[in-house]
Amino acid sequence: MQGLDALAEKDERIMLVCADSLLAMRATDFVAKHPDRYIEVGIAEQNAAATAAGLAIEGLIPYFATYAGFITMRACEQVRTFIAYPNLNVKLVGVNGGIAAGEREGVTHQFFEDIGILRTIANVTILVPADADQARQAAIAAASIPGPVYIRLGSGRDPVVFEKETPFIPGKINILSEKGNDIALFGNGVLLLRIFEAAKLLEQKGIGVTVVEVHTVKPIDIEGVTNVLKKCGAAVTAEDHNIIGGLGSAIMEVAAENCPVPIARIGLRDKFPGSGKPDELLDYYEMRVSDIVKAAETTIKRKIQKVIRH
């Protein structure tokens, strides 16, 4: 929430709306500095979303911040009908996105459907910054994106992925390395670190890998994704989200319409997880480095088979 702090200094319109989520959002400093910018409605997310809509109707830029699932599920209709439909300037900040972030809390506080839900709602921009510093930049960037923006965050104890001040540029894919074009690895959020590991192992095996961060899941960078698919001819997606509806689906949609190539999805395999430590959970639910490596090798084989058949 440091990003919001800096924004509020510059822009009178910035407001923070919480549903007794101030502590979870680590926003107490913001409130200490800007008490008049903070609206607290209590544990009432639907009310928070609709109140934020009212503020935005009047030209303010409210950031409604709480757990990802309470925004995208409990307040789904308020987000859809009263924020997205009138295309209001409400920014939605959801923590505990993914199973690693919800970790020991269990399924009630692990949200792995949020991106899928919001992807079906028109006008919503979806950002998945990789770590805390990227999130800070995403929060600032969101203010300049007209209309509703969803910023998906982890637990706040997430590992650092990028060096501080690495620019976060919404809307475009972020090609992190192009050491060959046997396979493209698309990913975002906490899974990026595992993708980096997988890429190293694949390269050691002589496989050429292109690593791409897709932090803007919607609107997806169709041109950027298509170009990578054309070069590599096969891809693996990896995300801490259900394999249905998230980044994997988004990439497959782009592929199917623009450049049909074999793709495998790494993510939560359409089941309910449970409590555990973040890394244990990702391992147990088949988001291991080895899962990515295996998926890459299998997918490359599918590409070769296709060529032979011709």
């Binding site: 609206i39 409605v41 639907q46 609709a50 109140t51 809509a53 009212g54 030209g59």
Partner: protein, 305 residues
């Protein structure tokens, strides 16, 4: 209840009463043309809408987004034909446009859409969302430091929705005296009587328990509505010091200066057209040719331009 009377006042009430018939005719005709819509819920609020739009609200139809205007949210969005009628008669758009209700490409959507129609301040129709949006708008007005008011008109059926009470809490917490709620208490929701369908009883007690000042009012008495709304608007624009001891209805204990006010307006669904009154078949139904003609003769006009 005793109010000042006199020729000017009588003229004022006569003018408003004439307008209520105009709005009711517009409702019947627009639904008749659309072949779809909710006449009963429009009729129960026609008098309230007429008083607000033609006597109380500080609005400039030529400048629909004027900063200092009063805001109005029709939370029971399905009753929008009567709101569209008021906006048209007020001059936001030509009355002939009322015939395009619910048609492809029309600005008059089946339920109100902010930005789509001049004069519509908030999207509504999915029930329960007027109060929380109004909460945000009233907070913004306070932040701007202007004395514009936010009126929210809700049905009684939609008070089944939990979000209404979430917002009632927040509005009382933030002491939004600049937000005025009106409940269209016609006692009937889509499926039947409100108390039987939902167990929603003791409305005044519920609002009081949430920290609101409650005024029960006859929602079809133009004089009562006009005087009470005039007082609540005066109070809404007053400073905190001025609000001390300011009454809404003479003879009733005045609200605390920080309290939000809710009117529980006792109304009759379908009011004004005898074959619709209290008959829930008219919650959503289109008048036949004969029914349309009958309504016009009852309401004293044709207006089928």
């Amino acid at each position: 209840m005793i109010y000042q009377t006199g020729k000017n006042m009588t003229d004022r009430f006569t003018r408003l009463t004439t307008m209520t018939s105009q709005l009711r005719r517009d409702v019947v005709n627009s639904i008749y043309y659309a072949g779809d819509g909710h006449p009963g819920p429009c009729m129960s609020i026609a008098d309230i809408i007429a008083v607000l739009y033609f006597d109380i609200l500080r609005i400039e139809p030529d400048v629909p987004l004027w900063d200092k205007r009063d805001r109005f949210i029709l939370s029971k969005g399905h009753a929008c034909p009567v709101l569209y009628a008021a906006l048209a008669r007020k001059g936001y758009f030509p009355p002939s446009e009322l015939k395009t209700l619910r048609m492809l490409g029309s600005r008059l959507q089946g339920h109100p859409v902010q930005k789509a129609t001049p004069g519509i301040d908030a999207t509504s129709g999915s029930l329960g969302h007027g109060l929380p949006q109004g909460c945000g708008m009233a907070l913004a007005a306070r932040r701007r430091g202007d004395d514009s008011l936010t009126f929210v008109l809700t049905g009684d059926g939609e008070l089944n929705e939990g979000i209404v009470w979430e917002a009632a809490m927040t509005i009382a917490k933030y002491k939004l005296h600049n937000l005025i709620a009106i409940v269209d208490n016609n006692g009937i929701q889509s499926g039947g009587k409100v108390d039987q369908i939902s167990g929603l009883v003791q409305l005044p007690e519920k609002w009081r328990a949430f920290g609101w000042y409650v005024v029960e009012i006859d929602g079809h008495n133009i004089e009562q509505l006009t005087m009470a709304f005039e007082n609540v608007a005066k109070r809404g624009r007053a400073t905190r010091e001025e609000r001390e001891g300011m009454f809404i209805v003479p003879g009733l204990e005045p609200p605390d200066p920080d309290q939000p006010v809710v009117f529980i307006a006792h109304t009759i669904k379908g009011k004004g057209i005898p074959y619709m009154e209290g008959n829930n078949a008219w919650h959503k139904r289109v008048p036949t040719d004969e029914e349309q003609k009958l309504a016009m003769s009852i309401l004293g006009g044709l207006d089928l331009e």
